[in-house]
Amino acid sequence: MGDTFFEIIGLDKSFRGLKATNKVSLSIKKGEVCSIIGPNGAGKTTLFNLITGLIKPDAGKIFFQGKDITAHSPVEIVHTGIARSFQIVNNFPRFTVYDNIMIAVLGYKRQALKMLTPAKSIGRNEIMELIDRIGLAKEANTLAGELSHGDQKRLEVGIALASNPSLLLLDEPTAGMSSEEKGGILETIKRIMKENNCTVFLCEHDMKVIFSISDTIWVLHNGTVVTSGTVEEIRNNALVREIYLGEAE
């Protein structure tokens, strides 16, 4: 256990009898892009909610860098180095892009209770640098709620990055984007991985996206891990074609 970067063992979660997560076990190696695929309702978002502590599992354990984080609060989990973006855009719509990132930076730096220094004087350079990195430099003073959908998705990634995570969870980062926008954000994610030296765990519906970026892929169906493997293995797996690609057509 101690040697794996991130590991889940036998995770269970039911909602009123519905097994959203059913004995899920998986592991992620440091530095890789690990993806999770599965049809709607497979339990991908639920898995992310469990990892980030927003909901507690009925059974099972979550290990991160050798530590058992199953019982940690969402705030503690952020500070151990796991941050996430949300499938449905989840920002501060009436704050500017800058202020959105600033809130996350203040949280990461544990400055939330500081009362005497002006917030705007904290981390200016690194906030601007991060905004630049997610490609929103021109929009720094735009209200988050007035950004295009694609840019809100970028901001979503930016807010997660502000926590300086070593494991970055991305819940459908390209959902609802045009194909050019998708290409752009994939490049951004790849670049960020190198620059921030972080590991990425993402879930996606778009197979093109998954196959172009992943090192390892896990397939989830009705809350259960069906199979896992490299891009080639998953591409040629008959069962996956049946569950996933079959349904898509």
Binding site: L54, V75, I103, A119, I122, E146
Partner: protein, 325 residues
């Protein structure tokens, strides 16, 4: 979409504050006793409403029980002066601190709740305190505590007024600094989206709790000042209707602005005073005027100021453009 106004006070805003402060300082020398009294009351009610707005406009909660902290500050002041030999300065600090302690106790439950439940439980806890105050003999029962002796230095109406203005402005400046600090920004972020704040590593529950205590402390200062003003304190200070007044003042003045509660307090108290002198059915007219104000100015009196300068600005921009063209 409304832009969250940048709270960072520009030089122009500070100029305004200094100007208003200077004018307020001059009032007793030119105005009548009537106006001095009225202004004292406006400043105190404005301060109490501002403490409410810290949680309402800036925190997204609906505190319907702040009369509890107003009364705590008031009763603590009256009791400490009457029953102990503490120096007056110590009373000025301990009394609001007592309100903060009450806030810390009530806040344990209240700050775990949201929206409707938050409002109901805060109102209910306020009524618990109201009942207690009337039952405890040392607090004077239904008649309250009267004849509170304050130091000679503050015994004139003018002196109390000047003292109130200085304290209120000091607290205002501190609040402004607080709202611009990381604490204030996270507070506003919690209003916008508490879950996202949690997921970025700030403890929302602890934050709301601390904000609640700070708010009750400030409300306690208002209660303390009111005792200096009236030299007495009554159970009605703790009644939830008083809490409702504070909330109404905020809405009247504009919850999205820093200075709104002060403006709201001025509007309500002046309205109250004039309508009372005009008709017996003043409560009816007061109610109607407030309804009209809220319907036609949903973002309060201060909501007007946001639009006017913009219109004027764009007018000047346009005319400047024409000249060049």
């Amino acid at each position: 979409m409304d832009k969250i106004r940048n709270l960072q006070a520009g030089t122009r805003e500070w100029t305004w504050y200094v100007a208003v402060f200077v004018i307020l300082m001059i009032v007793p020398f030119f105005g009548s006793i009537f106006w001095t009294n009225l202004l004292t009351e406006i400043l105190i009610m404005g301060l109490a409403a501002m403490s409410v707005n810290l949680l309402l406009g800036f925190g997204g909660s609906l505190p319907f029980g702040h009369a509890a902290f107003f009364a705590s500050g008031a009763y603590a002041t009256a009791l400490l002066i009457k029953e102990t030999n503490l120096p007056f300065l110590a009373v000025l600090i301990i009394a609001p601190a007592m309100a903060a302690v009450v806030g810390a106790v009530f806040g344990i439950i209240i700050t775990r709740l949201y929206e409707f439940y938050y409002a109901i439980v805060s109102a209910a806890s306020c009524m618990v305190l109201w009942t207690l105050i009337r039952k405890v003999p040392i607090l004077g029962g239904d008649t309250g505590i009267t004849g509170v002796e304050i130091p000679e230095l503050l015994s004139s109406i003018d002196a109390v007024y000047i003292f109130t203005a200085i304290v209120v402005f000091t607290v205002l400046i501190c609040t402004k600094i607080l709202l611009n600090s990381p604490f204030g920004w996270i507070q506003q972020a919690i209003r916008e989206n508490p879950n996202r704040v949690t997921c970025t590593g700030s403890n929302v529950l602890r934050h709301r709790y601390i904000a609640f205590i700070i708010s009750s402390f400030i409300c306690g200062i208002a209660g303390m000042l009111f005792v200096l003003h009236t030299q007495s304190t009554f159970p009605s200070y703790a009644h939830w209707i008083k809490s409702g007044d504070f909330v109404m003042i905020c809405i009247l003045g504009g919850v999205n602005t820093f200075i709104g509660p002060m403006v709201g307090a001025a509007a309500l108290i002046i309205l109250q005073t004039y309508i009372t002198s005009l008709t017996q059915h003043w409560l009816l007219f007061l109610g109607i005027s407030i309804c009209l104000l809220v319907i036609f100015m949903p973002s309060g009196i201060m909501g007007l100021t946001g639009h006017l300068p913009k219109k004027i600005q764009s007018f000047f921009k346009k005319s400047g453009h024409n000249q060049r063209g």
